[in-house]
């Protein structure tokens, strides 16, 4: 696929989230996840399912997507700038570090929306509220611009 690589797009990773239709794909994926959870007969109640969607979405964000966006550094392919994105996670690479672009806003708003829905469906009872809030915070804090490039306790620095 490296036919005549390199136009002025130095790091194609930054444009992935801006591609046409990728937000829709993301929303559909979350919907699918929810469907799958709903269809497991072991968990009867809807509130549990919603909590689970929220938590797994954030955990899935915290494990998979958190990993994809917030842990995995570098790029999965060789870029022509030879390692400028070496130490950056995908979240920091998005739009070349420009904050408050539409993709960033979309990805920040989606866990909030899920949180609101989960809170509503679990009827705001205490235990689930704590779980939901904790997972929301764990996924929102790394997205703040103040946390750009911050490595707590030196984890994941190099």
């Amino acid at each position: 696929m490296n036919v005549e690589v390199a136009h002025s797009e130095l790091n194609p990773n930054t444009r992935v989230m801006n591609s046409r239709g990728i937000w829709l794909a993301y929303a559909i994926l979350v919907g699918l996840l929810h469907m799958v959870l709903l269809s497991i007969p072991f968990f009867f109640s809807i509130p549990v399912v919603w909590t689970l969607t929220n938590v797994i979405h954030n955990l899935y964000k915290a494990q998979a997507m958190y990993i994809f966006l917030h842990t995995v550094k570098r790029t999965p392919f060789e870029t022509s700038v030879q390692g400028k994105a070496w130490l950056f996670i995908h979240w920091e690479q998005m739009d070349y570090g420009l904050q408050f672009t539409s993709s960033r806003k979309f990805l920040s708003i989606s866990p909030i929306v899920l949180y609101l829905l989960a809170s509503f469906y679990t009827k705001y009872d205490a235990a689930r509220f704590l779980i939901n809030t904790a997972s929301l915070l764990s996924i929102l804090l790394p997205k703040l611009p103040q946390f750009h490039g911050v490595h707590l306790f030196g984890i994941n620095k190099y």
């Binding site: 696929m1 490296n2 036919v3 005549e4 690589v5 390199a6 136009h7 002025s8 797009e9 194609p12 444009r15 992935v16 591609s19 046409r20 239709g21 990728i22 829709l24 794909a25 559909i28 995995v72 550094k73 570098r74 790029t75 999965p76 392919f77 060789e78 022509s80």
Partner: protein, 557 residues
Amino acid sequence: MANPGGGAVLNGTVHSNKKQSNNSQSKNYVKNGILKEAQQNGKPHFDYKPDVRSYDEAPRHVLFLTYMGYGIGTLFGYLRDFMRKWGIEKCNAAVEREEQKDFVPLYQDFENFFTRNLYMRIRDSWNQPICSTPGPYFDLMERVTDDYNWTFRHTGRVIKDVINMGSYNFLGLGVKYNESMKPVTEVLEKYGVGVPSSRHEMGTLDKHKELEELMAKFLNVEAAMIFGMGFATNSTNIPALVGKGCLILSDEFNHTSIILGARLSGAVIRPFKHNNMENLEALLREAIIKGQPRTGRAWRKILILVEGIYSMEGSIVNLPKLVALKKKYKAYLYMDEAHSIGSLGPNGQGVREHFGLDPDDVDVYMGTFTKSFAACGGYIAGKKELVDYIRVHSHSAVYSASMSPPVAQQIIRSIKILMGEDGNNEGAQKIQQLAENIKYFRQKLIEMGFIIYGADNSPIIPVLLYMPAKVSAFSRHLLKKKIGVVVVGFPATPLAEGRARFCVSSSHTKEILDTVLEAVDKLGDLLNVKYLSKKSRCPICFSEKSFDDETSFEYED
């Protein structure tokens, strides 16, 4: 009284004695010591609608499936990496020795993720060795893989007569040796193969001078200079033209060589959206108003870098509007005609002739001899002062070897064919055949329902396939039917726009094109890549109401 211009002043108006004729017949004049032909036809050839149509978009579900494809591929990639790390699966890529496991890693795992897990699966569609001239047909060396594309082995068989839809052989000049190439072998015998010297030292031959004069005549400019390598023409001459304190406005999709040259020059680079003249104008205005970044001083010069035909998109630059912009804001224009020289314009003189503009409108013409002229090397052409400056200051002229003499002779031969010297019209026939082929091929592809990019006259036709698996399947299936195409995917193109790129040549006969079209048609149905909306396929069918429409009848009771 002062009498400028030789006219008599009468009542305040100057009557000139000489009547100026507007339609001067090939009035040659001498300027800067160069004999110039007057521009014959100042009017554009036809009423050109610039290529700013919005390309047809595929339906959203297609894009969704494309992202799914990449996503699932990535997940499986992680799985395979995990299995490789824990020894469940054999690792075929380079790994470090056991003793060095604790050292700083020499091979970075993650940067190879894409290559290792996605590219390796479909790698057999690229880098296929051919063993004949890449004319309309070529011979392919058959290769098989026993370990899923990690290694290949040649069986020794040769797949003969594969139709060539991938070479940039636009004018069909890339053919086997025949008698008309005798002058090339004579030059080979006289001068040898290589020139072990740079242009500034002992490397300027009379063949180079001959070629440069011929090239200037062909392009209808004052002078030209040739270089041994097309890529190097861009990367070594742009730094000679601009430097610190200058501004470069380059198109988004410019080739690597232009980008490299721009970066080497040290000027400020601002890319503008592809072929988007409003964006360019906005950037120009902002740059001129604000000046250089920190100091606010005026720019030393502003250079706009564009290409004639873009090789990934097949689009033609919107030259009339660009020239108007450049004149309004007093910027310079550098045009890379690598693909468009020889293939556009009624005489093959490139994009400028295609739009019917004045040769002085573009400041720096650049092109390569690799595509239409079936040789290798590049040229820079323009005003004599410019080319004289390049002769002295080009990095390539100082540091790299000059063009090989047989190659120069081959280019001279190609240009003479194109210009129709010796009275035969072989060149004109080729150009016309190319134009017909392009029109036919594009029209048929649109009728079949493929989404294709590119202007209507451009010989490069990208067919959008979107999904990575379809990109690979397209190439493999067509190869089974003995048709060779080039396919491209991410990261060379945007994430969701994998494509197959057809290059039409004048050496393709209608039968060849029909064979290809039939195969592509069947393959398009099999792969389900015909995403063009029914309305765009046949605009005429949807513009008028058909008078067989029964619902328009009224039934009388």
